[in-house]
């Protein structure tokens, strides 16, 4: 069943929509959740919450590419669950590693007058990412959005781990400079 047909099931309030979604995307969503949570039980909880969120959001939403839409929901829920469960302690896993890598980018103080909301920062991020070369963009998104390991990112971007690591480092430096130029970091 293609995505348009599955979305139509949601719109018709046909409960088989969830079963069909699960059959098609469970493995895909579990990968995203596991990258963040590093725990099968928590990942299953996150993915189950994703199906509920999907049911509650369609309609009115009508995504064209269901994997991207569901992936965003899973990612958001998983990060939220990670924060809830690990407020004080460190944890293993790709999200924890990605988080520590990104701390260098955001180590400055925010402008006290401005409260940068995620959506505004997201728009800046889009402009920044579009300015990058394809490999730079893909490694960045693979590592920090999908939270894939460095080894996985290097493999599907067709480069060595060393090259991917260097590329990510340079991209983080560029991002930090970009945010500073945009006046959001001091």
């Amino acid at each position: 069943m293609n995505d348009a047909q599955i979305v139509e099931l949601y719109w018709q309030r046909d409960e088989s929509a969830i079963t069909v979604t699960q059959e098609k995307y469970n493995t895909y969503l579990m990968k995203i959740a596991r990258n963040i949570l590093n725990d099968t039980g928590d990942s299953e909880e996150s993915v189950n919450d994703t199906y509920l969120a999907a049911w509650n959001s369609m309609p009115p939403q009508k995504p064209v590419v269901l994997s991207t839409y569901l992936g965003k929901i899973t990612r958001r829920i998983s990060i939220s669950l990670f924060r809830k469960r690990n407020a004080d302690k460190r944890r293993d896993g790709e999200f924890a590693l990605s988080f520590s890598e990104m701390e260098d980018v955001m180590e400055g103080n925010m402008e006290p007058e401005k409260e940068m909301e995620a959506q505004i920062l997201g728009e800046l991020l889009n402009k920044f990412l579009r300015s990058l070369k394809p490999d730079e963009r893909r490694t960045f998104i693979g590592r920090y959005y999908y939270m894939d390991s460095l080894k996985e990112v290097a493999a599907y971007c067709g480069m060595s781990e060393g090259k991917a690591k260097t590329m990510l480092f340079r991209t983080r430096v560029k991002l930090k400079e970009y945010l500073r130029e945009e006046g959001f970091m001091i």
Partner: protein, 206 residues
């Protein structure tokens, strides 16, 4: 915390950039055993053919001298009845500009790209494109320059490569790619594999 904010901000990354990466992530990995089996079966077929030709030649049933003479095996492809030696590649892009390549090394490099089963790759891998793209890609594979608008993604885009032999025979291949239209950035073209980058390198070489 600031670092939390940037991870939250990534929720707003445009879908087309995410889909571009997701296509790479979910591409089915080649099974090494399948690759070896494919090469082994091709090698076995070649052995049978060469053996048959040798035996038939020995018995005088066929004359192989005409085929062997003057044919560059690296720059050749099989036509219907004979092997052709191609001396030119025309690259016809989706916006109708064309580029003729006559350098034998460049032609060989382009031909190496075309050896992979481009059309079956696009048709067989259901994670490479969405199902709607698969349908459009299948329709593109017959060489017609058709476009189909699917939710902001223009599924057509192709480089048509026409190999032309010294005796005028032509063989046409199509590299099927994907064009994404974004209101702010216009259109970007990308092939689903590294072939686009390889092709660009070849075309841009001095």
């Amino acid at each position: 915390m600031n670092t939390d904010l940037i991870f939250d901000a990534m929720d707003y990354i445009d879908d087309d950039m995410l889909e571009d990466v997701d296509a790479l992530r979910t591409k089915k990995k080649a099974n090494p055993n399948r690759i070896w089996m494919r090469y082994a079966s091709v090698a076995a077929c070649l052995c049978v053919i060469i053996g048959a030709v040798y035996l038939l030649d020995r018995t005088g049933m066929i004359d192989t001298t005409e085929i062997a003479d003057g044919v560059d095996q690296e720059n050749s492809f099989a036509g219907e009845d004979k092997v052709h030696n191609y001396v030119r590649a025309d690259i016809i892009t989706s916006d109708s500009t064309s580029l003729a390549v006559t350098d034998p090394q460049k032609i060989t490099a382009i031909y190496d790209i075309l050896r992979t089963e481009l059309q079956s790759e696009a048709a067989a891998d259901d994670k490479l494109y969405s199902e709607n793209d698969n349908k459009a890609a299948g329709e593109m594979a017959d060489g017609n320059g058709k476009t189909e608008d699917i939710g902001g993604i223009i599924a057509q885009s192709q480089y048509t490569i026409k190999l032309i032999s010294a005796d005028g025979a032509e063989k046409v291949y199509t590299l099927v790619g994907k064009v994404v239209r974004n209101e702010s950035t216009g259109e970007t073209f990308s092939l689903s594999s590294n072939q686009y980058n390889e092709l660009m390198e070849i075309l841009n070489q001095k």
